[in-house]
Amino acid sequence: MMIEGARWRKWLWFYLPLGAFIVALLFPFYWMVVTTVRPDGELYRPWNHPLYSPFWTSHPTFEHVKELLLETLFNTWMLNTMFIALAATLISLACGVIAGYALARLTFRWAGLLGTAIFVTYLVPQTLLFIPLAEIIRDYRIGDTPWALILTYPTFLIPFCTWLMMGYFKTIPKELEECARIDGAARWQAMVYIIFPIAVPGILSAGIFAFTLSWNEFIYALVFLSSPEQKTVPVGVTSELIRGDVFFWGSLMAGALIGSIPVAIVYSFFVEHYVAGVTGSVKG
């Protein structure tokens, strides 16, 4: 009796809410998949149509995917986004790792102040500065080129990487460097050859997180790029696949789905690092 009561209670208080969370959080992705493979004739049936069959489709089709890949600039957007995200991530990692090292392990004047300043820039949202930045991008004549994004994405990636790496470096014992110094290493050698290799998991977390943030970025890409063949996936899909007031929902959802795949792959390979990145981003 006791056990049955406990089991019933566990279903009510644990499995039921957890199941509801999972369904609610994942349903939109399921919906993307179903819409992508649904033929147009079935797609545009109103909500109160007797044959509205929301959760499956009897005639799956790859028409929308084919249309997306062959008749739009989607492939170009994918390549653009990949290039921009990788370049911005590499720049930000390089800057963030060394800056994080300096702030976490060296003593110098203004250290506290600089650390606070970088933390504050970490909190500056992109939407605060996009209008003056658009002016600057125009003045430097890099508007409508990948460089407009490669140079501006580090403004939110570097503070993040620095912050994450500071936290990571602080967990590495000081003695390791001291040993290397006794063995005759210069200070920078101890940093590069002793500390950086130990910090690889932290660097991975920061890099993965920075990559997904760049892939995700929207407003700078929307404002700084104008020609269709320069756009990134998020901007291309939202602006070029909607012609006037007509939404091509099949190819739109195909674009949303395929455009998410690189991020999903990176994420699936490095879930643990990613979770460390999420939690590290708020812990510091």
Partner: protein
Amino acid sequence: MEASKPAPFQFVSRGPISRALEREGTLAFWLLAPTLLILTVFIAYPFVLGVWLSLSNSTVGEPGHFIGLANFYKIFADSIFRTAAYNTFVYTAITTVFKLALGLWLALLLNRHFRGKSWVRAFILLPFIIPTVLSTLAWKWMFDPTFSVFNWLFWKLHIINSRINWLGDPDLAMGSIMIVNVWRGVPFYAISLLAGLQTINPDLHEAAAIDGANRFQRFWYVTWPLLLPVTMVVVLFSVIQTFADFQLVYVLTGGGPANATHLFATYAYQIGIGTGLLSEGAAISLAMFPALLLVVVFQLWYIRKVENR
């Protein structure tokens, strides 16, 4: 000690550069230089330029001249701006409450042991990692007035007879946008709070249970106070992001219907980029600044307080 073993690091040159880099201050300067350069050029300078723009009458391609606070007087008299300001505060407050409550609930559920836990944890983060505009497009499709799956569902459940116009009805549109924001934010709260929960020593719970504390008391007197520092940081981060949100509104409604769902950021975009009134757009963007500053200052103060404890 084996004296014959060669030192692993060999310095051939002890030139002036190497010697200079032995000084911590010099090394720190060079390590921080690239970061400070980028942040100065692309954050500090744009900020100054933004302040200047907001005090001038520049438009696209026209430098303009100083006109004082005229732009700010103009936007404060603008009823759409006031709606946007009101929307932003309501949007931030309501979604934050829901994200925190649901996120904490999910974190508590995930903090228990069950089969497939790591899979569940990996999958529920998807709304957070998938590019926001792309998942928001799926929501726009689900909210479509004619083809909405929610309408079908509520109709089949006999809750509604006529369609719900999720995004087209000015009274409902903001609520629909909030649903999407909560959907996207809950995983971040849950995973961060879960990390916080895992640092709490289970012995404390056991001790409280032995002393006769019930489930709720254990949460309220043991878990919650210990979780508070993490919670505060998560909430402050999320408040800043939500307050400055752009993507959801831009994709779902574009600020419509009849400018009812603008936030600061989307209205700044519409005026500054859409109509080309740079200085007015910059002023609308900067109108976010005092509230953001307040949150940041509070956050810095709070972190310092927790660290010194």
